[in-house]
Amino acid sequence: MSQDAKGGDVGRRDFLRGAGLATMATMATRFTGASPRAVERFLATRFTELSPDEVEAILADLERDYSRRFGKEVSVSATPPMDDVFFGYGLDISRCIGCRRCVYACVKENNQSRDPQIHWIRVLEMEKEKGIDLAESSPYYDPEQVPEEDFFYLPVACQQCRNAPCTRVCPVKATWQEKDGIVVIDYDWCIGCRCCMSACPYGARHFNWAEPELPAVAVNPDTHILGNRPRMKGVVEKCTFCIQRVRNGRYPACSEICPVGARKFGNLLDEESEIRYLMREKRVFVLKEELATKPKFYYFYAT
């Protein structure tokens, strides 16, 4: 399910594309005055079907574009999944105090649009008396101090479902689950139909309703092509477990900033990992288990 096999129809596609779209592209270049590489990129196939050389060319292009646009060196990588790694996340509800440090660290790390604002993490405040009840929750709490006496907090981001409804409904195969379990989006292929947003039971997918505003000083220059590289208007984006960090062995940003250490991350295939330890020693649950999405994002109570 992760990567589609490169079928024999690629050749035919190339031919059709060459015939019909090249003409269109040449015209487009003439009218818009865009660089010829932009046209090539517009006509490029989706990420999983690109040859390694094409990937290299696109990465170089993106780096040049971004560096020029932001006036500083921006690197774009396509680090592949590691072998024998399947990522999982744990969040300790008994510790989370709802301070939203993770929300803003995520924005900073992942180059989300500042205005219109996009947050990949939504922290829900819930009444202790009512337990976990999404219908009674609120993300807009704003007291002087947290935690508030009678409330607890449930941060929600992409649950990285094993059985992801969002990838299934995409009409153009622009989103898929990678071998290491991260659900990613090809921003250059997404048509912005928002079907995946309807399908996601966790409100984890976010749309670029306008051209994202990302100040040059604020850009995180270490980017991944399927993750935190600057996005464009009209495409969907979501949490990737900080793909640019975790594929290099680092913890996700939200986990490193959490002042109470409620966020845990690791390899589900490694019995010694933190995530496996907590699944063994604590009791975990997932959100909306009745939908059988089989999230790799586990909530637990350490105490």
Binding site: D9, R12, R13, L16, R17, G20, L21, F42, T45, R46, E49, P116, R122, L124, D133, L134, A135, E136, S137, S138, P139, V156, P165, R168, V169, C170, P171, V172, K173, A174, W189, C190, I191, G192, C193, R194, C195, M197, S198, A199, C200, P201, Y202, G203, R205, H206, F207, N208, W209, A210, E211, K233, G234, V235, V236, K288, L291
Partner: protein, 410 residues
């Protein structure tokens, strides 16, 4: 004459026909064009600034555009209500006008496709949806299937209509061996555009308001109400234009059938309401938002009740022979159905499905002026297509516009 020459003669003649008309015709076309220009200007803004100019947000990510799309899919399928009696039961009076059902289907599908186009964030990447050229996600994505069946239905109807008119223009009999199977084929196609569109919604397990298998039969039941409602009015116009002589009995018969369809629609609606309110689980929130509002958010409530009342009154009007056979009450009934289903299968289907959103947040969506303008433009384009096609089809069918008449007029 070669075929190409013949065809271009037909096209040229049709174009000339479409460009000649009386004051009423040009007033109508002119106002449609004004609306189109007004809406296209709004769409230009949307293209420049992004979908932020709509009131759609992450919480309610499909709304006015997709609501209209859903409603129009129902209208498009109405053609089969003429096709089935005409070609399956060989009912002569309807056979003569079945082509108008197909014209309606063509206009409605065009509007559907336009509504989808204006809803997507990167319309220039539409080619990603094309089989072989792009990467249509078949069989997994229901929206992918929808793209296929909608375009298939459009092409099918376009072909049938063009063939029928073209042959009539040259006063030749149409190719039965080709057209009849195609028309029969369009019946399952029409059912499938409904079913697949319903499945797009039903497939969203995280949205309990949509995730109900009753949605597909309700789509069909309500389409069997709203489609004929338009056609009944069309019939009366055609009758006055003396295109065909439609007996009042035929109209009453269709109205009676509509009463049954409406009963079925109301029954399925009742079944859904029972299930929601008797079990009263969390899933009821969406229905509650629609009919009584939650936490003071009541934007949809008047429309939801208007829809229920419209449908019920129309049902009663169509049920009793006295009101069914009175043209005034019949027409009122048609308009009520149209309004009722427009609300029910449009905004009242899409918005409550997303309110509250999957994390329980209530964002009260109402369309912006930009959305309304773009919607008006698309409806105008649909009406314009329908008008122009009728402008050509009516004289062709009446025998006023043929290759001879064209040569006579020079």
């Amino acid at each position: 004459m070669t075929r190409i020459k013949q065809f271009s003669l037909f096209i040229l003649g049709s174009a000339r026909l479409a460009l000649t008309g009386g004051k009423a015709y040009w007033t109508w076309v002119g106002s449609l064009l004004i609306l189109i220009v007004w809406g296209v200007a709004a769409y230009a803004t949307q293209l420049r600034d992004g979908l932020i100019v709509t009131n759609m947000r992450d919480q309610v990510s499909w709304a006015f555009y997709i609501g209209n799309f859903t409603f129009l899919v129902g209208v498009a399928a109405a053609a089969i209500l003429l096709v089935i009696p005409a070609y399956v039961y060989h009912w002569k009076p309807i056979k003569e006008i079945a082509i108008f059902g197909e014209l309606l289907a063509i206009s409605a599908i065009t509007m559907c496709l336009l509504f989808v186009t204006v809803d997507i964030g990167r319309p220039e990447r539409f080619w990603h949806l094309m089989p072989f050229v792009g990467s249509l996600n078949i069989p997994s994505s229901l929206l992918g299937w929808d793209v296929l069946v909608l375009n298939g239905y459009l092409l099918l109807n376009l072909f049938i209509v063009t063939h029928l008119l073209y042959k009539a223009f040259f006063k030749r009999a149409y190719n039965k061996a080709l057209i009849v199977p195609m028309i029969l084929f369009s019946i399952p196609f029409a059912i499938s555009i409904h079913t697949v569109t319903a499945f797009v919604y039903i497939g969203m397990a995280g949205r309990p308001f949509w995730n109900a298998s009753i949605l597909a039969p309700r789509f069909i039941a309500s389409a069997f109400c709203s489609g004929p409602a338009i056609l009944l009015i069309l019939f009366q116009i055609l009758k006055r234009l003396k295109v065909v002589d439609i007996k009042d009995e035929a109209i009453w018969k269709i109205a009676e059938l509509m009463a049954y369809a409406m009963f079925l629609n109301l029954f399925l609606f009742g079944a859904e309401i029972f299930k929601e309110y008797y079990s009263a689980t969390h899933h009821i929130l969406h229905t509650q938002y629609l009919y009584s509002g939650i936490h003071g958010h009541t934007a949809l409530v008047p429309y939801a009740w208007a829809s229920v009342i419209c449908s019920t009154v129309a049902f009663l009007l169509f049920l009793f022979p006295a009101t069914r056979k009175n043209l005034v009450t019949l027409n009122i009934g048609c308009l009520l159905i149209y309004a009722g289903v427009y609300i029910e299968k449009g905004m009242a289907l899409v918005i409550p499905g997303m309110t509250p959103d999957t994390l329980g947040e209530i964002y009260e969506y109402t369309p912006t002026m930009t959305e309304v303008r773009i919607g008006a433009a698309i409806f105008s384009i649909g009406f314009l297509i329908f008008t122009v096609m009728c402008k050509i089809a009516i004289p062709v069918l009446k025998g006023d516009f043929t290759v001879d008449s064209l040569e006579r007029s020079g």
